[in-house]
Symmetry: C2
Subunit: 413 residues, 2 copies
Amino acid sequence: MQYDQVLRQKIKSRSAKVGILGMGYVGNYIARLTTGAGYQTIGFVRNKHRAKKIKKLGLKNLRAAIDIKKMRTCDICIVCVQTPIDKNKKPDLTYLSSAVRQVAGQLRKGQLIVVESSIAAGTTRNVLLPILTASGYKCGEDFFFGHSPERVDPGNDVFPLYSIPKIVAGADDISLMLLTYFYQTIVQSVVPVSSLEAAEVTKLFENSFRLLNISFVNQFSEYAQRRGLNVWEIIKAASTKPFGFLPHYPGPGVGGHCIPVDPYYLLDDARSQGVSLTLLEEAGEINDKRPQLVYEKALEILGKRKTKRKKILLIGVAYKPNIDDIRESAALKIWALFKKNGYKVSYYDPFVPKVHGVKSIEFTEKILSSFDLIIILTNHSNVQYDVLLQTKIPILDTRNTFQSRSYERVVQI
Amino acid sequence: MQYDQVLRQKIKSRSAKVGILGMGYVGNYIARLTTGAGYQTIGFVRNKHRAKKIKKLGLKNLRAAIDIKKMRTCDICIVCVQTPIDKNKKPDLTYLSSAVRQVAGQLRKGQLIVVESSIAAGTTRNVLLPILTASGYKCGEDFFFGHSPERVDPGNDVFPLYSIPKIVAGADDISLMLLTYFYQTIVQSVVPVSSLEAAEVTKLFENSFRLLNISFVNQFSEYAQRRGLNVWEIIKAASTKPFGFLPHYPGPGVGGHCIPVDPYYLLDDARSQGVSLTLLEEAGEINDKRPQLVYEKALEILGKRKTKRKKILLIGVAYKPNIDDIRESAALKIWALFKKNGYKVSYYDPFVPKVHGVKSIEFTEKILSSFDLIIILTNHSNVQYDVLLQTKIPILDTRNTFQSRSYERVVQI
């Protein structure tokens, strides 16, 4: 029997063993799907501490492994390590290349390997595939390989991962067929595309759309504010249009590991192709300037009080509501700006108990009242915002927490 | 009885008479709603020729009038004349101011006046209201006034005008109440907003969103093309994401009297407020460059054939599918580019029998075969595109007419 037939059988009977390399938030979500579908799954981690965390997920068919050699026992290998950008906003493929090299080291005939990390056009074919074929094994015969960009949206309860269509591309037709077959067993619908590059670019395009529109609404909100208009009211009104409009909302700057990152993978590749995606370049710059803008607005509010007020409280440091992820969070950048200028910064976040050794404060009226300014940066739904209104402290609200109701002490941005 | 009470009664009983100033496509659509709801409606026009056109609409309760004095007999006056931009892309309020002056000349107590034209923040309050109050009548007591930006989408059968929520703002509370009451009798839902400016800006914001995203996808399509990727496949794949994405499509440049125009009203006002909406500025420039790009692509195709081929056929000159409107159409700009460079341009458009004295050609294989290049600019649904494939002529397809199926002679842009 051919290797692809064996794999099909194993997928059909759910006896295929799945290995996941990169047990961050994406890996965790995928493990829920694979174990839920009945696949024995191994989550590969760096150390015992991480292994313990995997155990804590409490998933029946999930085990943790530190020894990469165990990857050899897996039939399907999902790579979903992070693909960040460096300080010059250039793609940093260190983690991904290293992960694929680890997989290559354990490659055996009959394995199906898929990369879910967000990457630029050509990366799967020109950077990752050669690492695997260096083994001497032939892709499409001995092993199978493709790309299926993750679309995990942490905290999104309306669209759980299972319900989000999965884009899939193969290095060859058999790989594509196998990947489609496999993903159909763990998600509701699979969307095969014609090339690895199409899959890669689709993901970058989606998140570029987000960055572009969030940056636009941020810029638009500056205009609205200057005009004395409530930007949230305008967005709400525009959202009543039943076609041709999708609302995006202003904020202190987009965080997380996708929206502020992925577009730079697209920009970098476009530049190498001689195309300048000027709108996206500009969108990135606007986003980078947001934390400074929040900081300046805060100084303006403090300045009006004409005393040397130096104690700042940030409410919400996660990059979006109802999750604990602080990566690329605008809150950290705003925090740094205050700190650099001699302010004392504390924070409250029910999802994030500790940030760089600093603990989240206790949320009592008395403690809240000891600050000179409260800045709402993430609108978690389990915060008692009404208590904030009971203090006498001015509030800078970057998230329309109070739904455009006007309060004397609340300033919106 | 107060004037507002009288008006409410007249609206309730549908005995209020409606006058519409500006019987273009917006006026026509509104007349359908008002007459359909049972209001006697007068469409004001410049001359007998236009009056005849109104009659041809065949609406039972609609009459045409040339004499503006008849506006005095109307209880409700809807102004929806065009608000274009001049050649420097500055708002041109000539038509609107003139229309409102005409209304002011006939103003009588108890009238309700509403402007539906797209305008920048402050125009209703600071430019138009003074024209009306110069009469000596008091707004909110003697007469009533407000703004309700039109959201007409010609050719949109999925969302007929009746089903599109109507944003409404009043110069005062009574005017807002009356406008809400009136529009509730002709559309499915009314969305009152807190100020005239909020209503004005909402419309501009909606169309700015459109221009921004269309320009982005146009720029992105240049990258996709350079990368050898089919941009339509990527848009289709991205569209499978059930949240956070709204598809826009590349083309030869956005036309019509809204999307390429309204954003400049927003830009102009933002500039006057010291805010530079850089993303929108850039989007406008990208859109302006599209026709040139189509022209250059055409030359590239012609150049490959190495003969002096000079006969160009444009398919579709309306600015969007299935309508007859050619205003601001990219087709006209592309036409001009060819003409300037010595090419002979013909066109075929089943919706537009004549353009500047030139007639739409007959659509036969023989006539089609006499051209050197066919460019599809608007994808009307009643064109037999398959016949184009039967000719031996190269085709430049700017609208994905052939749904990404590949044909040797079809080049996409």
